[in-house]
């Protein structure tokens, strides 16, 4: 599945090397850093899951049914919620050479549709009907405008990002501190 990365994230220089060094020389510090990053990301995913509407607020034709040969993905709230999460391990480098150190995602197809529906075609019948049944506001800027994850990230006001940067910086400082101890 093709992944669309959003606008430029906070760039950390030496983050991957730091992670390697932490795992190699100070495994306890590596675990602690992971934990701190997780603590920073969980509020976003938790509130994002809260923005996923339940079955009663979704167009009946979009809900899963017994027999159907349709290829358009059904909106199953529990599946969409389970597709929202976070990742604290470095990813592979993308085509531009960036490796993600921490990320949150909404990976199901239906969740992605609900996230971004109406950004370009707000007057389409599908969007209008869904909005008539349950209207959820789009929040965020430009490409990062959405109803679920982007909304949660926007409402987080960068707290998660700062916490992640701080966790990385703290672990780097601690590593340097340990490395400078002379026997």
């Amino acid at each position: 599945m093709k992944q669309r990365r959003t606008t430029m994230p906070a760039s950390v220089k030496g983050g991957v090397e730091l992670r390697k060094a932490l795992r190699k020389f100070t495994p306890d510090l590596a675990k602690e850093t992971q934990k701190e990053i997780k603590t920073a990301l969980v509020p976003i995913t938790k509130s994002a899951k809260g923005y996923v509407p339940d079955r009663g607020k979704i167009l009946s034709g979009w809900l899963p049914r017994q027999m159907s040969e349709a290829t358009f993905p059904f909106f199953n709230p529990s599946v969409v919620k389970s597709g929202i999460g976070y990742k604290t391990t470095p990813s592979k480098a993308n085509s531009r050479g960036f490796r993600s150190l921490a990320s949150v995602f909404n990976k199901t197809a239906a969740g992605s549709i609900y996230e971004k529906m109406g950004r370009k075609t707000p007057d389409s019948r599908f969007v209008v009907n869904q909005d008539n049944k349950y209207r959820s506001p789009l929040k965020g800027k430009r490409e990062m405008e959405g109803r679920v994850l982007y909304r949660a990230y926007e409402e987080n006001n960068g707290k998660a990002r700062d916490a992640v940067i701080k966790a990385i910086q703290t672990s780097a400082n601690k590593l340097n501190q340990r490395a400078s101890v002379r026997g």
Binding site: G97, S180, R182
Partner: protein
């Protein structure tokens, strides 16, 4: 459909294309250049600085490996420092004779240590594992490959043989039993024996090949880098108040820049002095060390360099040894390179051809095993095995094992054909070894099968089937009974008196009788004799019949004569039975018809019949007319 992903933090690691461009050859070249840079063959500050950083990193990694090993063996088996040092010495010695670098050897030892093995066991297993890994993965096997394959072998040591059987090892029951239930030493010895049966001294021999020489060169470069890195670490720690890695790196950078500048400056100075020196008369010539200020600094630096704790003498000696080794290898390599520019190609082709020849030889053996005739014979043998299974299951098991071995051979053949098609020398050699191993197994099984069949045949020949066969016995008894019956009959006939005509009541005069012949005797006689007998008997019967007719005619004449004599003929004519057509006294009956009225004749007949009916001599009184 695109996912929604928000990267909270990311790092720019460079374009992938650059990384992909770094082939292993380039890496090796880079290592050699770095080493050359380290020994002062002229590189810029950036290169010196980069190499310094890499050296420090390599030194840290090496130290980490050794610390890991030391901690593991101390925690798991309570090893002493001397034992740890023994493992380090073994690693150094193994690197010297083979192509595997010390870090990978240490990692192999560490992995073995994680299985709580004793120091001696680790020392026993390590060389065999190096042979095994280099044979399977080549001279440039990675640390991960060493780790993975060591784990597999350590599992085999605990009775899980999957890692060995996957690569074609065939373990006999005794070896399995030893590994499963033996002591640690016995298990290790058994495993080493299994590995040595295929890979013994592979690591050592690989070092003599061009590829192995290049790997040794790379190992030497890495070693030099580590030693320089250790020296730099110690030196840089003494440079200032470094309280963090960042500051240490900064100090290191400054030091490298200054060092490079100093080297350049000294170079220029020496150049000028030498230019001046050339113009001076001999008695005025001097060496650099004699210049008061420069010489003092030079001597101080040299002395400090020799005495400083940061540049350990052992390291220097090691570095010198490595430099020598590097020079030798480089020289050898360069000579080899010059020679092999054309010859290497031929050598490769020859090696490939040798491998293909061996493979074809093995393939031919394999083809023999798998041709159609063999399959048909195998099918027949399978049927035979099923029959034999009624008396012994071992034969069937053996046959199934045989078939399985054939399938393995077929599989190996296919793998070898693929390797030949790919012209991959290592793969061809490996596949050939595998095929040969499979063929050995098959041959061993075939030998056992032949032996079993031979035993079966011998046993079958010993069974007294004909003597105890009931039907044969019944037939024999029946024949004996028949013989006894015929003998008894013959005896009875021989003893019985010849019947006379008087006894038989035939009327034939006594002494004039031919006894009848029995059917049994007639059946044994010839057709001619039977016909002769039949003719004789018929003539005799006819003669007696004529005699009886003559006797009867005479008796009738005597009767008539007697009746005539007494005057009572009994209602018969005196000429009865004497006319023609009635033997001696024939009677003629004449019916006169056709004279008179037919109506009258009919009435006369009707009357005669009616009267006959009334008398009871006719059964019916009805007349059809």
């Amino acid at each position: 459909m695109a996912n929604v992903v928000i990267d909270i933090a990311a790092e720019f690691t460079g374009n992938k294309a650059f990384k992909q461009a770094e082939t292993s050859t380039e890496k090796l070249t880079k290592n050699v250049k770095k080493l050359a840079g380290a020994i002062g063959l002229g590189f810029g500050t950036a290169q010196v600085l980069a190499f310094g950083k890499a050296s420090v990193k390599a030194a840290l990694e090496a130290q980490a490996q050794q610390e890991r090993l030391a901690n593991l063996v101390k925690v798991t088996v309570g090893a002493t420092d001397a034992q740890v040092q023994a493992l380090n010495d073994q690693a150094a010695a193994l690197q010297a004779i083979g192509v595997v670098n010390k870090e990978n050897i240490t990692q192999t030892q560490s992995q073995l240590a994680t299985f709580n093995l004793q120091i001696d066991t680790i020392k026993t297993l390590t060389p065999a594992i190096l042979d095994y890994v280099t044979a399977e993965k080549g001279a440039a096997a990675s640390a991960d490959q060493f780790k993975q394959m060591t784990n597999g072998l350590a599992q085999a040591l605990n009775g899980n043989f999957a890692s060995l059987t996957k690569v074609g090892f065939v373990l006999d029951e005794q070896t399995k039993k030893t590994i499963k239930s033996g002591t640690e030493t016995e298990r290790a010895a058994a495993l080493v024996k299994v590995l040595d049966s295929t890979y013994k001294d592979f690591n050592k021999n690989l070092a003599n090949t061009p590829t192995g020489q290049m790997q040794k060169l790379a190992n030497a470069a890495d070693d030099a880098k580590q030693i320089i890195g250790e020296g730099l670490l110690d030196a840089l720690k003494g440079l200032g108040e470094d309280d963090s890695v960042q500051n240490l790196a900064l100090s290191m950078q400054n030091f490298a820049i200054q060092t490079a500048n100093v080297i350049r400056g000294i170079g220029k100075l020496i150049e000028k002095i030498q230019a001046l020196d050339d113009k001076l008369p001999d008695w005025l010539k001097f060496d650099v060390g004699m210049i008061p200020i420069i010489g003092a600094w030079y001597e101080i630096a040299a002395t400090a360099g020799q005495l400083a704790a940061v540049q350990k003498s052992s390291d220097n000696q090691h570095l010198k040894a490595l430099q020598d080794q590097f020079k030798i290898i480089k020289k050898t390599s360069s000579v080899s390179t010059k020679l092999t520019a054309d010859e290497l190609k031929k050598l490769k082709a020859k090696q490939l051809q040798n491998a293909i020849d061996k493979a074809n030889l093995a393939l031919n053996k394999g083809e023999e095993v798998f041709d159609l005739d063999k399959i048909q014979i195998a099918a027949a043998l399978t049927n035979q095995a099923e029959l034999l299974a009624k008396t012994t299951n071992q034969a069937q098991i053996l046959q199934i094992a045989n078939d399985t071995a054939r399938l393995n051979v077929k599989k190996s053949i296919l793998a070898l054909e693929d390797a030949i098609a790919a012209k991959d020398e290592a793969a061809i050699i490996a596949a050939t070894n595998k095929l040969n191993a499979d063929l050995k197994v098959l041959n061993a099984l075939s030998g056992q099968n032949t032996q079993m069949l031979a035993i079966k045949t011998t046993l079958d020949s010993l069974k007294p089937v004909d003597l105890i066969n009931q039907s044969n016995l019944d037939l024999a008894i029946a024949k004996i009974q028949e013989m006894l019956r015929l003998l008894a009959q013959a005896s009875t006939q021989a003893k019985a008196p010849i019947p006379t005509s008087g006894k038989l009541g035939s009327g034939i005069p006594v002494g004039d009788f031919i006894a009848p012949i029995s059917k049994e005797i007639a059946a044994q006689a010839s057709i001619d004799s039977i016909l002769e007998y039949a003719d004789a008997a018929a003539e005799r019967a006819n003669a007696f019949a004529d005699l009886l007719d003559m006797q009867s005619e005479q008796d009738l004449k005597d009767l008539i004569a007697y009746q005539k004599s007494v005057g009572d003929l009994g209602g018969y004519s005196p000429n009865m039975n004497t006319g023609r057509g009635s033997g001696a006294g024939g009677t003629n009956i004449t019916v006169n018809t056709g004279i008179g009225d037919p109506e009258a004749i009919a009435r006369a007949i009707e009357d005669a019949i009616r009267q006959s009916y009334q008398r009871g001599t006719s059964s019916t009184g009805l007349l059809a007319v």
